[in-house]
């Protein structure tokens, strides 16, 4: 018995009794699938909202705190009378 025959015999064993497909399969699949879709949409929307909120918060903080302005020095005393 060579390899091809063995594989064909194994295939025949596997194809013997096909199980019956449950009649309510389609409805169940669509229900679960649309739930997965809705959930992923909701998560994506939430993440976008979070990103927008972070951008707004950063802008407001930057405008009020001016982090790019050099802070006045605290180590060197101001030079007067030179």
């Amino acid at each position: 018995m060579n390899r091809t025959e063995r594989e064909a015999a194994a295939r025949r064993i596997m194809e013997r009794t096909p199980p019956p497909v449950p009649p309510d399969l389609y409805g169940e699949v669509v229900r679960r699938g649309s739930r997965m879709l809705r959930r992923s949409h909701r998560i994506r929307r939430l993440l976008w909202l979070l990103l927008c909120a972070a951008v707004v918060a950063f802008t407001v903080w930057a405008v009020t705190a001016h982090p790019w302005v050099e802070p006045p020095s605290t180590t060197t005393p101001p030079v007067i009378d030179w």
Binding site: R3, R6, E7, A9, A10, R11, I13, M14, E15, R16, T17, P18, P19, P20, V21, P22, L25, Y26, E28, V29, V30, R32, G33, S34, M36, L37, S40
Partner: protein, 168 residues
């Protein structure tokens, strides 16, 4: 705009229904072989199939010409592989192979590879890439499993793991 969306949704539903009608029988057979349940009492195989098809439904619009059957089969195989060790034959196995199943003499990994290679006809390289195994190993496992299948051992004892553990 709304009209176009509605008609697109209807077309999508029609296409998906046709896909399910065509693919469900074969995928359910493959799933039942994987879980080694009896053909007429296969709750785990049905669950696997439902999850795989629901996943395909969820990414139906993002397929871009890819074969949905291939996608569903990949999901089914990977889900089985990831849950196999604790559900279908690991040390804490919940379910034993049903004696009426065609592949009851094989271990879960052998079942997975035999079903993908022989029943579904996936190429050796693709199977290896899907499961993250070397091609030689897939070849060897497939050969060994075919031999076990054609000449099953006398006693149902010598399954490598999980056969003698009491069901929990």
């Amino acid at each position: 705009m709304r009209d176009r969306q509605a008609s697109q949704g209807a077309r999508r539903a029609r296409e998906f229904e046709a896909f399910v009608a065509g693919a469900a029988g074969r995928l359910l057979h493959a799933a039942t072989l994987l879980t080694a349940e009896a053909p007429d009492a296969n709750p785990r195989a049905r669950r696997l199939l439902t999850l795989a098809l629901a996943h395909t439904y969820a990414c139906w619009d993002r397929l871009r010409g890819e074969d949905p059957y291939d996608r569903a089969r990949q999901y089914l195989a990977l889900r089985f592989a990831n849950s196999a060790w604790h559900q279908y034959g690991g040390p804490l196995s919940r379910g034993r192979p049903h004696p009426k199943s065609a592949l009851a003499v094989l271990t879960p990994q052998e079942r997975l590879i035999v079903v993908l290679r022989l029943y579904e006809g996936v190429a050796e390289e693709q199977t290896a890439a899907l499961l993250g195994l070397p091609t030689d190993r897939v070849h060897a496992i497939c050969d060994r499993a075919t031999a076990t299948l054609l000449h099953p051992p006398r006693k149902p004892g010598p399954r490598v793991m999980g056969a003698k553990v009491a069901p929990s």
